[in-house]
């Protein structure tokens, strides 16, 4: 048999199976052909077992990736539960063949070893890893609403402890080689050039009996092992894990719960019954809407890493150093982003206090990472101290990207840019982190508007992945491309958005918050309102979100929206009343809720009765509340699409998931709308238009057209 997708070779009585031949992209995945060839290769090994072949080595021909898992496109093709279950079973059989070989087997892992790749490695007697920083292990299936279906739930807890395996499988978290060795997943770490050379050491008799790093570790591990073996303690472990999962996912996600079911039931069973349970579980999860949605988001996110917008003739600037003008919370957060990515930023403001505020923000982000041991002390010092806080323009001609984050005032912003133009290079990108002002207007005063765009970050910068790149009619495509690539480079998820009130995310968020305010005005209790949002899957309720943003900001932005969008965006009087009462939200420690000194939310603030006299007087069921606040978002998104603010539905969904935490398991706002049925949604909107308010609820023309043409948002 000749192999194309992998290499098979017997050298010095040792069979070598090499991956890395099956993919044009940089990541090797296990697709159907590769799995078939793997089966063939294993049959060859079996034939030689006991005869010529004394050992088996798995390795990769390409650096920094061993196997990035099973091909997700293959998973997407599985339409029924039966099909999916049998797909998992086939993989399990294949890996059992490795497991059942009488000769020693070693997986030499350099680079990513994920999902089905790790499950393959787990079927070997030993995993040895390269010392490359890119060597990472994970079983990320849970993130796609799935479970590791090729024996991972069975073999991982056997290889490492049960709590360790649960942690890896339930979170999908990536661990590096060092951590993997500590957990006992990896036998030894070597320089990557030596990996395959030293693998044969593990073929000698009695080699590789695991050496414990210290008696204390050994004791700990033994205890953990004993605990997993013991029925009662095992029950306790699972109970705790289940509580953790419910707390974290609020019960919205099926996969982690299914994983717990499979692993708990399987624990007392033998291999074949355990694997049958696993395959069954995989089959069930595979066909869920939730898994399909999560896979949809995965691809959407992957695709967003490549710039596919308009390209210009000119060269695209690679940003190496940045500057931030305006050192508030946002400015400090953006400075942190530059510093964290080794782009030693200049942080400029007009006075020392402002600069220190910015440094405080950046330092808080870094110390968080330090505390979570994501960063060493030396790295923390180097990165935080790489920020140059200054009052003047020294060094501005060495920066490639300036992000302005001064107060939201058009006049001041124009002044700032006018001055900036005198201090930066001609090719330097100028951007504004405005959240509400027109970038088209801002571009007007500039000598070179083509290198200017909006670059809208979300608060807090270190936690919110989304960045809106706001275009205007004079911007050069090279500018947009350069900004896009920089965003991806620094780990953000960019979307390109046309100019208009609230751009994309805030424009959709506004009707949500505005309708929430109208519901409060009608007498719906704030806690019931928030609970309805939470039960839909939002990370926080509407009132909590208003507190977080600040009522003063909402009033200001509301005014801009109303001016730009007309009567459908008319701000509810409640926000003005709340503003007048001085309860501005988290920033004043008092809003709809009370906040402690650290900003942690507590009870409902009784003072809100001042502006909500009929609080709680109206009973509304949860679904109605949800429809009242979420339908106007879909309606506004339809208008955004027809206005050409963004090019397609997936951009809206990307924006809302990564910019507002819209529940990922719903696949995004418009994916959700599509799955609910646009006819039903339009019908409900029409009903609200006649019963509640015509301006705010009349369905957008695009929505009506789609219904008439029996199309979905994702068909556009």
């Amino acid at each position: 048999m000749s192999f194309q997708k992998l290499s098979y070779e017997v050298k010095d009585n040792i069979a070598h199976i090499g991956f890395g031949y099956n993919s044009e992209s940089s990541m090797t995945v296990l697709d159907e052909d590769t799995l078939l060839e793997l089966n063939e290769a294993l049959e060859e090994v079996k034939k030689g077992e006991g005869a010529g072949i004394k050992g088996l080595i798995f390795f990769s021909h390409i650096p920094r990736v061993f196997l990035a898992g099973a091909d997700i496109k293959m998973i997407q093709k599985l339409n029924t539960e039966v099909e999916a279950t049998s797909g998992a079973e086939k993989g399990q059989e294949l890996y059992n063949k490795i497991d059942d070989l009488s000769i020693p087997t070693v997986a030499c892992v350099d680079g990513f070893c994920l999902g089905g790749g790790l499950e393959l490695a787990l079927s070997c007697d030993h995993i040895i890893a390269s010392d490359d920083s890119g060597t990472k292990f994970a079983v990320p299936e849970v993130k796609l609403g799935l479970l590791p279906g090729f024996g991972g739930t069975y073999r991982l807890p056997k290889k490492i402890s049960l709590p360790g395996a649960l942690d890896m499988i339930l979170t999908g978290r990536m661990i590096d080689a060092k951590k993997a060795k500590k957990l006992g997943l990896v036998t030894e770490i070597f320089p990557k050039e030596n990996l395959v050379k030293v693998a044969s050491r593990y073929f000698k008799k009695g080699a590789g009996t695991k050496k414990r790093s210290s008696p204390m570790d050994a004791l700990k591990e033994n205890l953990e092992h004993m605990a997993s073996e013991n029925f009662l303690s095992r029950k306790l472990i699972f109970q705790k894990a289940r509580e953790g999962v419910l707390k974290k996912t609020k019960g919205f996600y099926h996969a982690p719960l299914k994983i717990l079911d499979v692993m708990e039931q399987g624990a007392s069973k033998g291999r074949s019954s355990y694997l049958a349970l696993e395959a069954q579980g995989f089959g069930e999860l595979c066909v869920t809407e939730q898994s399909k949605n999560l896979i949809h988001i995965f691809f959407m996110h992957e695709n967003s890493k490549k710039y596919d917008g308009a390209k210009g003739e000119g060269s695209v600037l690679k940003v190496k150093r940045g500057a931030v003008v305006g050192a508030g919370t946002m400015g400090g957060g953006i400075a942190w982003l530059f510093a964290n990515n080794g782009q030693s930023p200049i942080l400029k403001d007009l006075n020392n206090d402002a600069l220190e505020l910015g440094l405080k923000q950046s330092s808080a982000n870094f110390s968080g990472a330090l505390k979570r041991r994501k960063m060493s002390k030396a790295e923390y010092e180097r990165k935080q101290l790489s920020i140059s806080p200054q009052l003047g323009f020294d060094g501005f001609n060495s920066v490639d990207l300036v992000i302005e984050a001064v107060v939201e005032d058009m006049k001041i912003k124009k002044l700032v840019f006018g001055e900036l133009e005198n201090h930066v290079r001609d090719d330097c990108l100028l951007t504004s982190n405005t959240s509400s002002l027109s970038v088209t207007e801002m571009a007007k005063g500039l000598k070179k508007p083509e290198r200017f765009a909006g670059l809208h970050f979300f608060n807090p910068v270190n936690r919110m992945p989304l960045v809106e790149i706001i275009t205007h009619d004079k911007v050069a495509p090279e500018t947009v491309e350069a900004l896009y690539k920089w965003c991806v480079k620094v780990g953000k998820t960019p979307i390109v958005v046309g100019d208009g009130p609230g751009f994309l995310v805030n424009r959709i968020l506004m009707p949500f918050l505005n309708e929430a305010a109208y519901l409060l005005e009608e007498g719906v209790h704030p806690e019931e309102l928030d609970q309805a949002c939470l039960n839909f899957g939002m990370p926080m309720g509407a009132c909590r979100l208003m507190d977080e943003i600040g009522i003063d900001v909402l009033v200001k932005v509301g005014k801009i929206m109303e001016e730009g969008l007309g009567p459908r965006a008319r701000a509810c009087g409640i926000s003005k009343a709340a503003f007048d009462s001085g309860l501005l939200g988290k920033k004043t420690s008092k809003g709809f809720y009370l906040y402690d000194a650290k900003g942690k939310p507590g009870d409902l603030n009784s003072e809100i009765e001042k502006f909500l006299p009929n609080m709680g007087s109206k009973n509304m069921d949860e679904t109605s509340i949800q429809m009242r606040v979420f339908l106007p978002m879909i309606n506004e998104a339809a208008r955004i699409l027809s206005d050409g603010i963004v090019s397609k539905a997936s951009v809206v969904d990307l924006g809302l998931i990564f910019g507002t935490g819209f529940p990922p398991f719903r696949g995004g706002l418009l994916k959700y709308a599509d799955s609910e049925g646009l006819d039903r949604i339009t019908g409900a909107l029409e009903r609200f238009a006649s019963e509640v308010n015509e301006d705010r609820y009349s369905p957008a023309p695009l929505l009506k057209n789609l219904v008439a043409e029996k199309k979905k948002f994702y068909d556009i």
Binding site: N352, E356, L359, K360, S363, A378, L385, P389, D394, G395
Partner: protein
């Protein structure tokens, strides 16, 4: 020899040891300065030839801190960096080596300066303890290790304080403070003289700070446990200092009959300073605007126990070499290691009958109080050992510019019995 220009001259705030920046990552006392000068001058990073930094006692985790600063500041890896150690004049030694390299045509652009965190000078275990550790490490079996450990005696734990040893002369075995006591005795310098001098230093320094005279030369530090505060001023000078207050302190080095106190000596201090030296070619090529020309330097030796006279002796020889006189200097920066030592220099320089002891048969000149340390000196500002030599040049260049003077002299005494001096010309 070619002309050597000082393009930029910057320093950090100087902070007395054990205070606000006692735990500061030491290389960052130089990194910020270097980056700031790169920003101000807009030089392409690969235009720099070398980084030379004075340093006498960085923590062991930063060996050859000159190279570390160059790399961390973002200069290309191809650019070399090293350290100089000439005790108190290490920064001046760095500037002098930079001067030689540029003047001789070997180099065109050199960063020369110094950094020191005296707060973080290490404690050292004695030789016995070090050997014991080495033996334990070398021992192969547990039994060998135990055997090696048996050699331990509690007195082995007594640490040697690097800073204390560094400030003691190995040749004559006396402390730097005691060298000042010798000068005070020999030249009849009273406690009152010294305290008055020290008091003036504090008042000059605080006035200069208030008037913003240091603003141009200081590059702020990001300080605090969380690195979220900005420090723009020196911490050390005392506005409320009085001669009476200073008079209350007990002599420190000669406890029973001495006159030198910690208050009329310079405090141990943390800080850094940096000069960018350039050839005329580089100035033209990169369109730089130099502040000053570094005219020349000179180092001279004398008895270690009278090291405090180093400035008088070395200044004389430098001026002689240049064919200049002290009168021609519009501004003079003498490091104030000890008030007694500066006053002694003054006496030596004014009186050939004294200076002839060091083979100088002519009057060197009168040290004019209106020219000498006009913005205070190390008694107030502190003396970060590795940095002071270049810090004096930084302060001198800026004050000379402000006054529109022509020539300036910077000089200091050096533990071990030396003096170093540099003359610059304002442009």
């Amino acid at each position: 020899m070619r002309d050597v220009f000082i393009v930029e001259a910057k320093r950090t705030p100087q902070v007395k040891s054990g205070a606000d920046i006692k735990d500061y990552p030491v290389p960052h006392l130089g990194i910020g300065l270097l980056k700031n000068i790169m920003d101000v001058t807009s030089l392409p990073p690969d235009a720099i030839d070398e980084v030379i930094l004075g340093n006498t006692g960085a923590p062991p985790k930063y060996p050859n801190i000159g190279r570390i600063v160059a790399l961390e500041a973002g200069l290309p890896q191809t650019i070399s960096g090293y350290c100089t150690h000439r005790n108190c004049a290490s920064g001046m030694e760095a500037a002098s080596q930079g001067w030689l390299k540029v003047a001789s045509g070997r180099s065109d652009l050199i960063f020369a300066g110094g950094i020191e965190s005296m707060s973080q000078m290490p404690l050292i275990f004695g030789k016995e303890m070090t050997e014991l550790f080495a033996n334990v490490m070398r021992a192969k079996s547990m039994q060998d290790k135990v055997l090696a450990l048996k050699a331990f005696r509690p007195q082995h734990l007594a640490p040697i304080i690097a800073i204390e040893q560094g400030l003691t002369d190995p040749f004559c075995s006396i402390n730097m403070g005691q060298t000042a006591e010798i000068l005070a005795r020999e030249f009849g310098i009273t406690r009152q003289d010294q305290d008055e001098y020290a008091n003036r230093s504090h008042h000059r320094a605080t006035a200069a700070t208030k008037e913003g005279k240091f603003d141009d030369e200081i590059v702020p530090l990001i300080i605090g446990k969380k690195f979220d505060r900005i420090l723009r001023h020196d911490i050390g000078p005392r506005e409320k200092s009085t001669v009476e207050g200073l008079g209350k302190l007990k002599p420190f080095f000669e406890k029973k009959s001495g006159t030198v106190t910690v208050a009329n000596s310079c405090p141990i201090t943390d800080g850094g300073s940096m000069l960018l030296l350039a050839s005329e070619d580089a100035v033209n090529k990169y369109n730089l605007k130099p502040m000053a020309r570094m005219v020349d330097y000179h180092f001279h030796g004398l008895e270690p126990e009278r090291m405090g006279l180093g400035p008088a002796i070395s200044s004389h020889h430098l001026l002689k070499k240049l064919g200049m006189t002290l009168d021609q200097m519009d501004l003079i920066e003498f490091n104030e290691a000890f008030a007694a030592q500066v006053i002694a220099c003054k006496k030596v320089m004014a009186d050939p009958s004294i200076s002839k002891r060091w083979g100088i048969n002519e009057k060197i000149g009168d040290l004019d109080d209106d020219k000498l340390n006009v913005n205070g000196g190390a008694i107030a500002l502190g003396h970060p050992v590795g940095s002071t030599g270049s810090r004096l040049i930084v302060t001198l260049a800026h004050e000379l510019k402000r006054r529109g003077g022509k020539y300036g002299l910077a000089s200091l005494c050096i533990g071990g019995g030396q003096g170093g001096a540099v003359v610059i010309e304002n442009l």
